[in-house]
Amino acid sequence: MLDQQQYESQVQGRAEEMLDAVAAQPRPSAWTAHALLARGGSSEQVTEAVARNLSEVVPGAGDGDMGGPFHVLPAMLLHSRWEEQLPPEAEQMIRDFLLRGIIVRGNTENHWLMYYAGNLLAAERWRDEDLFWDGRPPVAMQREATRWILGTIERTARIGHHEYDSPGYHIEHMMPLIGLYEHTTDEFLRTQVERVLTLKVADMALEFFKGSWAGSHSREGYRENTWTRVGPIRTLQYLYFGGEPFDADQHLHGYAIPALVAQYRPPALLARMAWDRPTPQVVKKTKAPRNIIRHADEPAGPVYKTTYMSRSFALGSAQINLPGTAAGPIDLVSWDLTWSGPKHQAKITCNHPFQGPERFSAFLAPYPQNARRSIGGGKPYLQSVDRLFGASPFERIAQHEGAVLVTYRIPAEDEAPFANLFLPMETDWVEQEGWLLADMDDFYVGVRPLADCHWERIQESRNDAIMVSNGDLIDGWLLRIEGPTPGIALEAVESMAVASFDDFCARRVAAGVDLSDWPTQGRVALTTIAADRLELEFDGVHRLNGEIIDYDAWPLYGAPEAEAELHTGRMRFGRGEDVVDVDFDIDPDQPMMPMRVIG
């Protein structure tokens, strides 16, 4: 067992290696200037980095002094860590920005956390000034920020993280929390921050799969969910979990660089949990609802996650519980199968590319008549009918270990009445009685579209202004499954669980999918090769071997090395003697702070 001291020494070694690499990079940013300062880089470069950060134009009319979460947080992380070493010009720019600038909160949970963390550090630092940038004395912001941060920590401890398990945005939760842990003068806040950091790293560890973050994600970037390694969280995955050689291309992202110079270290057992799973395991998590601000006559329900972490693959899905027919969070990924392999070659996922403009106005202020153009204009890929990410209000999923049913009932008037299934292109697929079967060496997989489908090629690129010649964003097969009731059944099993690939194919095809009530009665059932029967009733119950799957009983965390009940604020991670207990000291009878952002 790795003890904490050994573990911290390993983390420090990785941090030093990473800092060396970052310090050698050209054109530092306010996020990466930490490496310059740690390595004695030039003060001119540091000043330039701060100037670039704070003079960045935020949409609004070219006002140089206006910034947001991505300005206030890196500025204050830099100032708080290196005030004594900062060039005077850089220090003055940051001070002026916080005392005389204009700063906006943004509109997602990570925005607010960065905004409030940065502002809190600034309000503490300049507490004796008469006025803060917002026209009030600094103590007003200090109180406001503290209330919101403590409130959102409490929500996370009681009902789960709202902007859950996002390879893209988890870093934007980790960095403000690490900054607060390092620098706040409020000891109670620091204590709660350390506790919630344990949860956030545990979230990373429980679904860490050989460099990937398996399972459903509240947000997984735009056109990145066919990748195996996604998002800036890779930097913290490597820093805290190690387990593979350092690769600057994979393991460095600017947003995470302040963590390399921080003192914060997670519990060592979380690194062990990330890599060491002696047996396949089911990870259950409850996450907070995807808050909808309109187009719904009832609030969204909790998100119930299931992720099966096997030896050679991971299959994860979630009950998203969106109310109504309008909301479809634009970068949510509800399920995927992931394994170890190159980009585009180790993921299977499908979705309904829901086009309704209300998916924007359910979360943001523009009227539905304007929302599609005002939001989709800036992100045109959100309008693509080939989209492979994003939620649909017409999707229902049931999962048991390595088997999943993904079904859709899409209204006839929908602009995209079909589902898109992504399959890797270098896989040798075998078609047999409607099943697409593949030998992945260590495991086998079978996918059965539930309606007619057609093979297409999908290739999308960042450099698409004139001609797409390289699918650096997406490159694979797109199977368009016809609506209005498309779907898939999928099962993956370890190769050692069956005699051979041929045996897998024969047994998988023979076990079959019961479509006798699909789509007429809205029921579909999948029998696994282990003879478990998974049944999905659209907008009804899900059953495993005849027993109703009770999502109401889902724990906050449930896994061989994670246990926590909802609303208690208490968690245990680890096994045997090697455990970490977390207790947020919460009174469950007290009301929670209302959640005021999406994310």
Binding site: A61, I102, R147, I292, R294, Y367
Partner: protein
Amino acid sequence: MTGESEALAPADWLVGDVGVWAGTLGGGWRRHGPYPFAVQGLSRTATDLLVGTGHGLWQAPIDPRHRWVQLHDEILTEVMTVVRDASGAPVAAGSYGVSVATDDELGFKRWRSLTEELSPDERYTNVLHLEAGLWLAGTEAGVLISVDDGANWQHTDLSGSPVRCLTRIDDSCWAGTDDRGLWCSQDGRIWWQVDCPTTAVFSVAEAGSCLLVGGYDGIYCRDAQGLWQRSGPRALIRCLTVAGDVWAAGADPGGLWYSQDEGGTWRRSGPFKHVNVICGPMGGDGTC
């Protein structure tokens, strides 16, 4: 643009777009302070200006050289509309409902939602209308009414459709809906649908004997004989304001337009692209 340091004058029109702009419809415009927030609601007095924005609620001094003061806290988010109650205190509404504030021991505003327990559609408030003993909220679920200063809310006859505008004209209240046209009420509780050539009504105003309606595709004018005529740009007309013989229309997108010949001719004014709110000069009709 004219001088950015010029104080607000009673004769100024105010426009909420990216920031608050002051000026005259046929003349120049100046931004009131360097605050490029998306402005959605304004409430003006002789001594200050409350500005409801996508980034909370702010108090703007008359002199733009002075800093705006943040009035929101962590509970109050996007503000779609801001009005003042009988005491002059701000009542703000937006994506998380209707909220009122009290001061903490240091004098900073702490906001309390009056509609926290309602459903998302009932809570999301586009527009507020306050009178003594009668608060009306135009929500995504219809018009909600409160007769106890917001403590309790009930549905009205006008339910099941997003309400985009609410205004009192003489002894009647008028409401515009997203998909069911124009509605009228005497008491705010019982509503009836009024014949109107557009199903999407985002703004309503009175212009002498005419009723003006802003739709998705332009401005509709109903004359004293009840005949409707469309005029102006074929744009989503989010706000309409009439001051004397000047009609002003804010299009989102499409900018600011005005007419001085009862809708015969409309001219675009200023640098605006998304006009959410227009205040006429103080002391007359159309102020806010």
